[in-house]
Protein backbone atom coordinates (compact mmCIF):
# COMPACT_ATOMS: atom_id res chain seq x y z
CA UNK A 1 0.00 0.00 0.00
CA UNK A 2 2.46 2.60 -1.21
CA UNK A 3 -0.32 5.17 -1.50
CA UNK A 4 -0.70 5.31 2.27
CA UNK A 5 2.60 7.21 2.52
CA UNK A 6 1.28 10.37 0.84
CA UNK A 7 -1.95 10.08 2.83
CA UNK A 8 -0.08 9.87 6.14
CA UNK A 9 2.11 12.77 5.07
CA UNK A 10 -0.96 14.89 4.30
CA UNK A 11 -2.64 13.91 7.58
CA UNK A 12 0.45 14.84 9.56
CA UNK A 13 0.83 18.17 7.81
CA UNK A 14 -2.79 18.94 8.64
CA UNK A 15 -2.90 17.63 12.21
CA UNK A 16 0.62 18.13 13.57
CA UNK A 17 1.91 21.09 11.62
CA UNK A 18 -1.42 22.74 10.85
CA UNK A 19 -0.05 25.93 12.36
CA UNK A 20 -3.00 28.15 11.56
CA UNK A 21 -5.40 26.05 13.61
CA UNK A 22 -2.95 25.32 16.39
CA UNK A 23 -1.87 21.89 15.24
CA UNK A 24 -0.15 19.90 17.97
CA UNK A 25 0.50 23.02 20.06
CA UNK A 26 -3.15 23.49 21.01
CA UNK A 27 -3.66 20.20 22.94
CA UNK A 28 -0.32 20.68 24.71
CA UNK A 29 -1.10 24.24 25.79
CA UNK A 30 -4.57 23.14 26.93
CA UNK A 31 -3.02 20.28 28.89
CA UNK A 32 -0.46 22.54 30.56
CA UNK A 33 -3.10 25.14 31.34
CA UNK A 34 -5.11 22.52 33.26
CA UNK A 35 -1.99 21.42 35.16
CA UNK A 36 -1.19 25.03 36.02
CA UNK A 37 -4.70 26.01 37.08
CA UNK A 38 -5.49 22.91 39.13
CA UNK A 39 -3.25 23.85 42.13
CA UNK A 40 -4.87 27.29 42.19
CA UNK A 41 -8.30 25.72 42.36
CA UNK A 42 -7.70 23.09 45.06
CA UNK A 43 -5.06 24.94 47.05
CA UNK A 44 -1.33 24.40 47.52
CA UNK A 45 -1.60 21.34 49.78
CA UNK A 46 1.28 19.21 48.48
CA UNK A 47 0.03 15.74 49.59
CA UNK A 48 -3.42 16.36 48.07
CA UNK A 49 -1.86 17.56 44.82
CA UNK A 50 0.49 14.61 44.63
CA UNK A 51 -2.32 12.16 45.34
CA UNK A 52 -4.81 13.59 42.81
CA UNK A 53 -2.34 14.99 40.25
CA UNK A 54 -2.04 11.81 38.21
CA UNK A 55 -5.80 11.65 37.73
CA UNK A 56 -5.86 15.30 36.67
CA UNK A 57 -3.18 14.57 34.08
CA UNK A 58 -5.35 11.77 32.71
CA UNK A 59 -8.50 13.91 32.50
CA UNK A 60 -6.51 16.69 30.84
CA UNK A 61 -5.08 14.19 28.33
CA UNK A 62 -8.56 12.91 27.47
CA UNK A 63 -9.92 16.42 26.94
CA UNK A 64 -6.87 17.47 24.93
CA UNK A 65 -7.38 14.44 22.67
CA UNK A 66 -10.92 15.45 21.75
CA UNK A 67 -10.08 19.08 20.92
CA UNK A 68 -9.53 18.49 17.17
CA UNK A 69 -12.38 15.99 16.67
CA UNK A 70 -14.41 18.13 14.28
CA UNK A 71 -11.57 18.40 11.77
CA UNK A 72 -10.49 14.76 11.84
CA UNK A 73 -12.87 13.25 9.28
CA UNK A 74 -15.64 15.62 8.26
CA UNK A 75 -13.61 18.06 6.09
CA UNK A 76 -12.39 15.18 3.92
CA UNK A 77 -15.91 13.88 3.37
CA UNK A 78 -17.04 17.38 2.37
CA UNK A 79 -14.08 17.82 0.03
CA UNK A 80 -14.84 14.51 -1.67
CA UNK A 81 -11.44 13.08 -0.71
CA UNK A 82 -12.97 9.79 0.45
CA UNK A 83 -14.86 9.46 -2.86
CA UNK A 84 -11.65 9.93 -4.83
CA UNK A 85 -9.78 7.45 -2.63
CA UNK A 86 -12.58 4.91 -3.05
CA UNK A 87 -12.40 5.26 -6.85
CA UNK A 88 -8.69 4.47 -6.66
CA UNK A 89 -9.39 1.33 -4.65
CA UNK A 90 -8.05 2.80 -1.40
CA UNK A 91 -10.48 1.53 1.21
CA UNK A 92 -11.96 3.78 3.88
CA UNK A 93 -10.60 1.36 6.49
CA UNK A 94 -6.99 2.03 5.52
CA UNK A 95 -7.52 5.77 5.43
CA UNK A 96 -9.11 5.69 8.90
CA UNK A 97 -6.27 3.52 10.25
CA UNK A 98 -3.71 6.01 8.91
CA UNK A 99 -5.69 8.85 10.42
CA UNK A 100 -5.63 7.19 13.86
CA UNK A 101 -1.85 7.03 13.62
CA UNK A 102 -1.60 10.67 12.56
CA UNK A 103 -4.01 11.82 15.26
CA UNK A 104 -2.03 9.91 17.90
CA UNK A 105 1.25 11.43 16.70
CA UNK A 106 -0.33 14.87 16.92
CA UNK A 107 -1.16 14.63 20.63
CA UNK A 108 0.24 11.41 22.19
CA UNK A 109 4.00 12.04 22.22
CA UNK A 110 3.58 15.82 22.81
CA UNK A 111 1.38 15.13 25.85
CA UNK A 112 3.88 12.61 27.23
CA UNK A 113 6.53 15.32 27.00
CA UNK A 114 4.21 17.91 28.50
CA UNK A 115 3.50 15.54 31.41
CA UNK A 116 7.05 16.20 32.63
CA UNK A 117 6.53 19.90 33.46
CA UNK A 118 2.96 19.11 34.52
CA UNK A 119 4.18 16.58 37.08
CA UNK A 120 6.53 19.20 38.49
CA UNK A 121 3.65 21.66 38.80
CA UNK A 122 1.53 19.08 40.61
CA UNK A 123 4.35 17.77 42.80
CA UNK A 124 4.18 14.19 41.52
CA UNK A 125 7.21 12.09 42.47
CA UNK A 126 9.40 10.05 40.15
CA UNK A 127 7.75 6.65 40.61
CA UNK A 128 4.25 8.04 40.04
CA UNK A 129 5.50 10.00 37.04
CA UNK A 130 6.85 6.77 35.55
CA UNK A 131 3.43 5.12 36.01
CA UNK A 132 1.72 8.14 34.42
CA UNK A 133 4.06 8.10 31.42
CA UNK A 134 3.70 4.35 30.86
CA UNK A 135 -0.05 4.65 31.28
CA UNK A 136 -0.21 7.48 28.74
CA UNK A 137 1.89 5.42 26.33
CA UNK A 138 -0.60 2.57 26.68
CA UNK A 139 -3.73 4.70 26.77
CA UNK A 140 -3.30 7.55 24.29
CA UNK A 141 -3.48 5.26 21.19
CA UNK A 142 -6.87 4.15 22.46
CA UNK A 143 -7.93 7.77 22.95
CA UNK A 144 -6.81 8.51 19.38
CA UNK A 145 -8.84 5.56 18.09
CA UNK A 146 -11.96 6.63 20.00
CA UNK A 147 -11.57 10.16 18.69
CA UNK A 148 -11.30 9.13 15.04
CA UNK A 149 -14.15 6.62 15.34
CA UNK A 150 -16.52 9.16 16.90
CA UNK A 151 -15.42 11.83 14.40
CA UNK A 152 -16.31 9.48 11.54
CA UNK A 153 -19.65 8.52 13.05
CA UNK A 154 -20.74 12.10 13.74
CA UNK A 155 -19.42 13.51 10.44
CA UNK A 156 -22.15 15.33 8.59
CA UNK A 157 -24.53 15.50 11.54
CA UNK A 158 -25.83 18.85 12.64
CA UNK A 159 -24.21 19.71 15.94
CA UNK A 160 -21.77 16.89 15.31
CA UNK A 161 -19.00 18.56 17.28
CA UNK A 162 -21.06 18.83 20.46
CA UNK A 163 -22.41 15.32 20.03
CA UNK A 164 -18.97 13.83 19.46
CA UNK A 165 -17.72 15.33 22.71
CA UNK A 166 -20.54 13.55 24.53
CA UNK A 167 -20.07 10.25 22.70
CA UNK A 168 -16.35 10.05 23.42
CA UNK A 169 -16.87 10.11 27.19
CA UNK A 170 -18.40 6.64 27.72
CA UNK A 171 -15.92 4.99 25.35
CA UNK A 172 -13.00 6.67 27.07
CA UNK A 173 -14.14 5.72 30.59
CA UNK A 174 -12.44 2.26 30.59
CA UNK A 175 -9.14 3.86 29.57
CA UNK A 176 -9.49 6.42 32.33
CA UNK A 177 -10.42 3.86 34.97
CA UNK A 178 -7.49 1.57 34.23
CA UNK A 179 -5.02 4.30 33.31
CA UNK A 180 -5.64 6.56 36.29
CA UNK A 181 -6.38 3.53 38.47
CA UNK A 182 -2.88 2.19 37.88
CA UNK A 183 -1.65 5.19 39.89
CA UNK A 184 -3.43 4.26 43.10
CA UNK A 185 -2.64 0.56 42.88
CA UNK A 186 0.83 1.42 41.63
CA UNK A 187 0.93 -1.79 39.62
CA UNK A 188 1.64 -2.85 36.11
CA UNK A 189 -1.77 -4.53 36.02
CA UNK A 190 -3.61 -1.26 35.40
CA UNK A 191 -1.24 -0.30 32.62
CA UNK A 192 -1.62 -3.70 30.99
CA UNK A 193 -5.41 -3.39 31.10
CA UNK A 194 -5.17 0.13 29.64
CA UNK A 195 -3.10 -1.29 26.82
CA UNK A 196 -5.63 -4.06 26.28
CA UNK A 197 -8.51 -1.58 26.03
CA UNK A 198 -6.41 0.49 23.62
CA UNK A 199 -5.78 -2.53 21.41
CA UNK A 200 -9.47 -3.40 21.27
CA UNK A 201 -10.33 0.18 20.29
CA UNK A 202 -7.52 0.27 17.70
CA UNK A 203 -8.80 -2.98 16.18
CA UNK A 204 -12.42 -1.85 15.98
CA UNK A 205 -11.92 1.73 14.80
CA UNK A 206 -10.89 1.21 11.14
CA UNK A 207 -13.96 -0.94 10.49
CA UNK A 208 -16.42 1.19 12.44
CA UNK A 209 -14.97 4.39 10.96
CA UNK A 210 -14.88 3.00 7.42
CA UNK A 211 -18.49 1.87 7.65
CA UNK A 212 -19.46 5.29 9.02
CA UNK A 213 -17.77 7.09 6.11
CA UNK A 214 -19.54 4.84 3.60
CA UNK A 215 -22.87 5.34 5.37
CA UNK A 216 -22.41 9.11 5.14
CA UNK A 217 -22.65 8.83 1.34
CA UNK A 218 -26.24 7.56 1.39
Amino acid sequence: MAVLGPILRRDLSRLVFGARKGGAALPVLFFLAVAMLYPFAVGPDAPVLARTGGGVIWVAALLAAILPLDRLVEPDIELGMFDQWALRGISEEWVIAVRVLAHWLSFGPPLMLAALPASALLGIDGAALRTVELGLLAGTPGLAAVGVMIAAITAGLRGGAALSGLLVIPLAVPLLIFGAGSLSTGGEGGIALTGAVSLVLLAVTPFAGGAAVRASRE
Binding site: G5, L79, D83, Q84, L87, R88, R214
Partner: protein, 170 residues
Protein backbone atom coordinates in the same frame (compact mmCIF):
# COMPACT_ATOMS: atom_id res chain seq x y z
CA UNK B 1 -22.90 9.26 -23.18
CA UNK B 2 -24.69 12.43 -22.23
CA UNK B 3 -27.19 12.28 -19.35
CA UNK B 4 -29.81 14.99 -19.58
CA UNK B 5 -32.82 15.90 -17.49
CA UNK B 6 -34.05 18.61 -15.13
CA UNK B 7 -32.58 19.28 -11.69
CA UNK B 8 -33.33 16.63 -9.13
CA UNK B 9 -34.13 13.82 -11.56
CA UNK B 10 -31.11 11.80 -10.48
CA UNK B 11 -28.27 12.53 -12.89
CA UNK B 12 -25.74 12.93 -10.10
CA UNK B 13 -27.08 9.90 -8.24
CA UNK B 14 -26.69 7.82 -11.40
CA UNK B 15 -23.12 9.07 -11.77
CA UNK B 16 -22.38 8.12 -8.15
CA UNK B 17 -23.94 4.68 -8.65
CA UNK B 18 -21.76 4.20 -11.74
CA UNK B 19 -18.76 5.22 -9.64
CA UNK B 20 -19.69 2.53 -7.13
CA UNK B 21 -20.12 5.12 -4.37
CA UNK B 22 -23.87 4.79 -4.02
CA UNK B 23 -26.01 1.71 -3.84
CA UNK B 24 -29.03 1.44 -6.12
CA UNK B 25 -32.23 1.15 -4.14
CA UNK B 26 -32.40 -2.56 -3.26
CA UNK B 27 -36.18 -2.76 -3.37
CA UNK B 28 -36.56 -1.15 -6.72
CA UNK B 29 -39.73 0.49 -7.92
CA UNK B 30 -41.66 -2.16 -9.80
CA UNK B 31 -39.98 -3.80 -12.71
CA UNK B 32 -36.28 -4.35 -12.85
CA UNK B 33 -36.00 -4.80 -9.13
CA UNK B 34 -33.13 -6.70 -7.65
CA UNK B 35 -30.41 -6.35 -5.11
CA UNK B 36 -27.14 -4.70 -5.72
CA UNK B 37 -24.22 -3.66 -3.58
CA UNK B 38 -21.96 -0.65 -3.67
CA UNK B 39 -19.14 -1.11 -6.09
CA UNK B 40 -21.11 -3.64 -8.09
CA UNK B 41 -20.52 -1.76 -11.34
CA UNK B 42 -17.64 -3.44 -13.09
CA UNK B 43 -15.49 -1.26 -15.30
CA UNK B 44 -12.90 -2.54 -17.68
CA UNK B 45 -10.13 -0.26 -16.43
CA UNK B 46 -10.09 2.46 -13.80
CA UNK B 47 -12.50 5.33 -13.55
CA UNK B 48 -12.02 9.00 -12.83
CA UNK B 49 -14.76 11.10 -11.24
CA UNK B 50 -15.23 14.84 -11.47
CA UNK B 51 -18.17 16.30 -9.56
CA UNK B 52 -18.99 19.27 -7.37
CA UNK B 53 -16.32 18.23 -4.86
CA UNK B 54 -12.84 19.31 -5.82
CA UNK B 55 -10.95 16.99 -3.45
CA UNK B 56 -8.20 19.62 -3.22
CA UNK B 57 -7.19 21.09 0.14
CA UNK B 58 -8.61 24.62 0.16
CA UNK B 59 -5.86 26.17 2.28
CA UNK B 60 -2.95 24.76 0.27
CA UNK B 61 -1.37 26.40 -2.77
CA UNK B 62 -2.73 24.84 -5.95
CA UNK B 63 0.55 23.13 -6.86
CA UNK B 64 0.82 21.46 -3.43
CA UNK B 65 -2.83 20.37 -3.42
CA UNK B 66 -2.38 18.76 -6.84
CA UNK B 67 0.99 17.30 -5.82
CA UNK B 68 -0.82 15.20 -3.21
CA UNK B 69 -2.80 13.45 -5.95
CA UNK B 70 0.25 13.19 -8.22
CA UNK B 71 2.02 11.24 -5.48
CA UNK B 72 -0.93 8.84 -5.30
CA UNK B 73 -1.64 8.63 -9.03
CA UNK B 74 1.96 9.04 -10.24
CA UNK B 75 0.78 11.33 -12.99
CA UNK B 76 1.54 14.96 -13.75
CA UNK B 77 -1.32 17.41 -14.09
CA UNK B 78 -0.93 19.55 -17.21
CA UNK B 79 -0.98 23.08 -15.79
CA UNK B 80 -0.27 24.93 -19.01
CA UNK B 81 -2.91 23.18 -21.09
CA UNK B 82 -5.63 23.99 -18.55
CA UNK B 83 -4.66 27.64 -18.33
CA UNK B 84 -3.49 27.29 -14.73
CA UNK B 85 -0.06 28.79 -15.39
CA UNK B 86 0.94 31.29 -12.76
CA UNK B 87 -1.66 30.03 -10.26
CA UNK B 88 0.62 27.42 -8.68
CA UNK B 89 1.16 29.46 -5.51
CA UNK B 90 -2.43 30.63 -5.10
CA UNK B 91 -4.34 28.86 -2.31
CA UNK B 92 -7.14 26.75 -3.75
CA UNK B 93 -9.82 28.58 -1.75
CA UNK B 94 -8.94 31.87 -3.50
CA UNK B 95 -9.42 30.51 -7.02
CA UNK B 96 -12.46 31.58 -8.99
CA UNK B 97 -15.24 29.10 -9.77
CA UNK B 98 -13.94 28.50 -13.27
CA UNK B 99 -10.35 28.15 -12.09
CA UNK B 100 -11.47 25.62 -9.48
CA UNK B 101 -13.15 23.58 -12.20
CA UNK B 102 -9.97 23.74 -14.27
CA UNK B 103 -7.99 22.61 -11.21
CA UNK B 104 -10.36 19.68 -10.76
CA UNK B 105 -9.73 18.76 -14.39
CA UNK B 106 -6.00 18.92 -13.68
CA UNK B 107 -6.53 16.36 -10.91
CA UNK B 108 -8.62 14.20 -13.26
CA UNK B 109 -6.05 14.32 -16.06
CA UNK B 110 -3.23 13.52 -13.64
CA UNK B 111 -5.08 10.34 -12.67
CA UNK B 112 -4.66 8.89 -16.20
CA UNK B 113 -7.84 6.88 -15.76
CA UNK B 114 -9.33 4.86 -18.60
CA UNK B 115 -12.86 6.21 -18.23
CA UNK B 116 -14.42 9.42 -16.98
CA UNK B 117 -17.57 10.20 -15.04
CA UNK B 118 -18.23 13.93 -15.26
CA UNK B 119 -20.97 15.59 -13.23
CA UNK B 120 -21.71 19.08 -14.55
CA UNK B 121 -18.20 19.57 -15.93
CA UNK B 122 -19.04 22.91 -17.55
CA UNK B 123 -20.28 24.75 -14.46
CA UNK B 124 -18.49 28.05 -14.13
CA UNK B 125 -16.29 27.64 -17.19
CA UNK B 126 -15.91 30.37 -19.80
CA UNK B 127 -16.22 29.73 -23.55
CA UNK B 128 -12.56 28.80 -23.89
CA UNK B 129 -12.91 26.43 -20.95
CA UNK B 130 -15.98 24.78 -22.48
CA UNK B 131 -14.23 24.15 -25.77
CA UNK B 132 -11.16 22.86 -23.91
CA UNK B 133 -13.33 20.38 -22.00
CA UNK B 134 -15.02 19.29 -25.22
CA UNK B 135 -11.58 18.77 -26.73
CA UNK B 136 -10.41 16.71 -23.71
CA UNK B 137 -13.54 14.56 -23.85
CA UNK B 138 -13.04 13.97 -27.58
CA UNK B 139 -9.45 12.88 -26.93
CA UNK B 140 -10.53 10.51 -24.16
CA UNK B 141 -13.19 8.98 -26.39
CA UNK B 142 -10.88 8.58 -29.36
CA UNK B 143 -8.51 6.74 -27.02
CA UNK B 144 -11.19 4.15 -26.36
CA UNK B 145 -12.39 5.55 -23.05
CA UNK B 146 -15.99 5.72 -21.94
CA UNK B 147 -17.11 9.19 -20.89
CA UNK B 148 -20.42 9.67 -19.09
CA UNK B 149 -21.39 13.32 -18.76
CA UNK B 150 -24.28 14.62 -16.71
CA UNK B 151 -24.95 18.16 -17.81
CA UNK B 152 -27.92 20.42 -18.30
CA UNK B 153 -25.81 22.63 -20.50
CA UNK B 154 -25.31 21.71 -24.16
CA UNK B 155 -21.95 20.08 -24.70
CA UNK B 156 -20.54 19.08 -28.06
CA UNK B 157 -19.85 15.36 -28.14
CA UNK B 158 -20.13 14.09 -31.73
CA UNK B 159 -22.19 10.91 -32.09
CA UNK B 160 -22.64 10.53 -28.34
CA UNK B 161 -25.56 8.60 -26.94
CA UNK B 162 -28.04 10.85 -25.18
CA UNK B 163 -29.93 9.41 -22.23
CA UNK B 164 -32.88 11.57 -21.24
CA UNK B 165 -33.78 10.53 -17.69
CA UNK B 166 -37.29 11.98 -18.14
CA UNK B 167 -38.05 9.06 -20.44
CA UNK B 168 -37.05 6.57 -17.76
CA UNK B 169 -39.31 7.17 -14.78
CA UNK B 170 -38.72 4.75 -11.97
Amino acid sequence: MHLVGPNGIGKSSLIRILAGLLRPSPTGYGKGSGTSTAGSVHWNGNVGLLDGHMALDPQLPLANALAFWSRIDRGTPPFARLGLDGLEDVPVRLLSTGQKKRAAFARLLGQNSNHWLLDEPLNGLDDAGVSLVEELIAEKRSGGGVVVVASHQPIAMPSAQILDLRKHPY
